[in-house]
Symmetry: C2
Subunit: 366 residues, 2 copies
Amino acid sequence: MTEHHIEVPALDPGGYTIHIGSDLVTSLLDRVSEQFPKSQPFIVTDKGLVDAGQLSRLQGDRNVGHFVITPAGEVSKTMQTVTAILESMEAASLGRDSVVVALGGGTVGDIAGFAAAIFKRGVPVVQVPTTLLAQADSALGGKTGVDSSLSKNAFGAFWHPAAVYIDVHTLETVNDRDYRAGLIESVKHAMIADADYFAYLESHLDAILRREYDVLSEVALKNCRIKGHVVQVDPTERNMRRILNYGHTIGHAVETASEFELLHGEAIAIGLVGAGLIEVELGFSDSTRLDRVRALLKRIGLPVTLPQSIRPDRLIDLIRRDKKAVDRWPRFVLIDNFGQIHKQGKEYALDVGKATIEVVLEHLYG
Amino acid sequence: MTEHHIEVPALDPGGYTIHIGSDLVTSLLDRVSEQFPKSQPFIVTDKGLVDAGQLSRLQGDRNVGHFVITPAGEVSKTMQTVTAILESMEAASLGRDSVVVALGGGTVGDIAGFAAAIFKRGVPVVQVPTTLLAQADSALGGKTGVDSSLSKNAFGAFWHPAAVYIDVHTLETVNDRDYRAGLIESVKHAMIADADYFAYLESHLDAILRREYDVLSEVALKNCRIKGHVVQVDPTERNMRRILNYGHTIGHAVETASEFELLHGEAIAIGLVGAGLIEVELGFSDSTRLDRVRALLKRIGLPVTLPQSIRPDRLIDLIRRDKKAVDRWPRFVLIDNFGQIHKQGKEYALDVGKATIEVVLEHLYG
C-alpha cells in the first residue's frame, strides 16, 4: 500500500460587523451593495414580515429578487423550503456572485443562512434579525439549518454571516407575548456573563417593555458583545460555547413536554429557575440570587413554575434524550454568581445526578 | 448607529491521507474504526456497486447502516437523494459522532460528501472512489454537491474528506468504454503538470488497459500528487485550481452539445485536442506536441475530432454560457509545454478571442 498525504491549509480568519440602530432597514440594500459591489442581492423573508410591511421597507422602490417563506414559523423549517429557495435563486439567474439577505426571526435566519451556505457551494449571507431572540442569539454565531421529521436543526452548516443589521424598529412587528418571551436570552446572557447587565435589565425593564429604541439598542449591543465573545472563542461549539446552554437542559425538556403550548422563551424561563434551584441545592448559592431571577422573570411576564399538566417522569425522560448528551445523562451548566460560570477543571458543564434533578423538579412546581 | 465587530478565528489547518493499494476495501471498515474509534460508520453507495459485489466486499460479515442510490448515475444527483440519505441516517439514530463512507464513482462521492457536510452541521466523510475519474479527480479536493434542474453542481459545499482509499481492485467493476474515458483526467494531469508522466502513460498504456494493479497504483499515486498539490495551494478554487479546467472549456460545450451521447471523458478528449489547436494557432507550440496527444488519445480509444452532428455555432453559444465565465466570454487555460502552464502575470487563464476559437473549431472537425 502506498500513502500520500494532502494538507488542507488553514482558512484565513474572518470577521463581520454588527450594525445596531433604529432605522437601518430602509438603507440596508445600499449598504449591502457597498460591501458587495459586484454581487446581486436576494432577499429571503416570511409571510409575517411581508404583512407587517418590512419587505416593502427594505425594498423601497427597488424590485429585488426575493423568496417569501409561507407559512411563517418552525413548520416551514424543512429541506423542502431550502430546496425551493435554492431553485428560486437559480431561476433568477443568480450565480456565485450573489448575496442572500435574511430578513426575519430565527427561523428565517436559519433557513436563509443554510441556503446561502450551499448555493453554488456557498455565497455570503447578511442577517437582518427582526425578533429579540434572533437579535440576541440566533443571527450571531453562524449556526444554520433546518429540522427533520425527527429532530430540530438536524441538517445544516456552520456559515458565519458577512454582516448583521439589528434594526430595533423591526421589533414593532412582534406581538406582546412573543416580545416578552424573546427577552429570555438577554436575561440568560446577563446571568452567565455580566452582573451589571442583570442590574441594567432590572432598572430599565419598563423602558424595554415600552420598546424604547435607545434602551433596545443598548440591550442589543450588550447581547452582541456577550454572544460575540463566546462565538469568537469557540466558533464550532466544541467547548465554551455550551455555556449558552445555561437553563436550556431543563428548559428544552419543558418546551417539548408542553407540546409547544409554551413558547421557547417561556420554557427557558422555567429552565433558568431550574438551574437556580440546582445551584441552591448544590450550595453554590443561597436563595437571594434566585429570588432576584424569579422577580425579574415575573415582571417580564414569564412563568417561573412548572404547569401541573407536565409530569416529572416525562421531563426526566426528555432530559435523558437531550441532544447534547450523546447517549447518557446530560451535564449541566451552572453559575457561582451572576457572570461567573462554575467550572470543573476545563469543563463548563458538570455532572448533576438524576436524584438532585428529581428534587429540583419537585420544587419547580412552586 | 452602533457597531460591534466579531472576529471569526482561522480554522486550524487539516489534512488527510490517501491510501492506495489493490485490496483495501475488505479491511476498510477496520481502518475507519481505528481513525474514528467513537464514531458509527454509515455507507453510501449505488445500485451498480451493490450488483458488482463491492458493498458485500466492504461489509464482510458485518451489517453496517447503508443507503443505496438507485438508479446509479447523474440522474440521482439531486437534493431529493441527499434528503433521503440524511433522513435514513437519522432513522438509523446516527448523531454527530458518525462517519460517512462513500463507496462509488464521482456521483456517489459528490452526493455522499454533500450529505456528510450538512448532516448535524457536518460529519467526516471517507471517500472510496471506484472509477478512474473519481480516483484521479473528484474524490480529492473537497468539492461536493448535486445538480439542479437547471445546472450541474448547483448546490453543494466544500467538504474535504477525512481519508481517501483508492483500491484499484474496484476498477474491475468498470466497463470498457467508461474505463477508457476515465483515463482522460490522467492524460490532462500529465499535460498540465508533468512531462515525465505523459511519457509514462505512453510507455505503460498497454499495461494500463490490461488493468495491471501495480501500474494502476502508480497512475493513481501520480494523479493524487498532482491534484493534491493544486488543492493544497488553492482549496476553494480562487486561482490556481482553475488549471484543472485545461481542455474543459471546449470539452464541456462538446459534452452538452452531444446531449450526453459522448461520455465526459470522450468530450474532454476532444477538448484537449482543441486546447492543443489553440496553442498551435497562438504559436505556443508547433504541431508535434499535438500529434503526441492525438496519438495517445487514439490508442486509448478516445475521439480526437468533433462529430459532424455538432454544429460550431451551438458550441460557440455553449462556450459563452460556461459557468466559470461569469457573464462574458470565458478565459482559456493553455500550456507552453507538457507540465508548463502558460501564465499571464498572476493569471492561469488567458483571453482568447472568439475568432480564434472559431478557426480552432473548424480544424477540430478533422
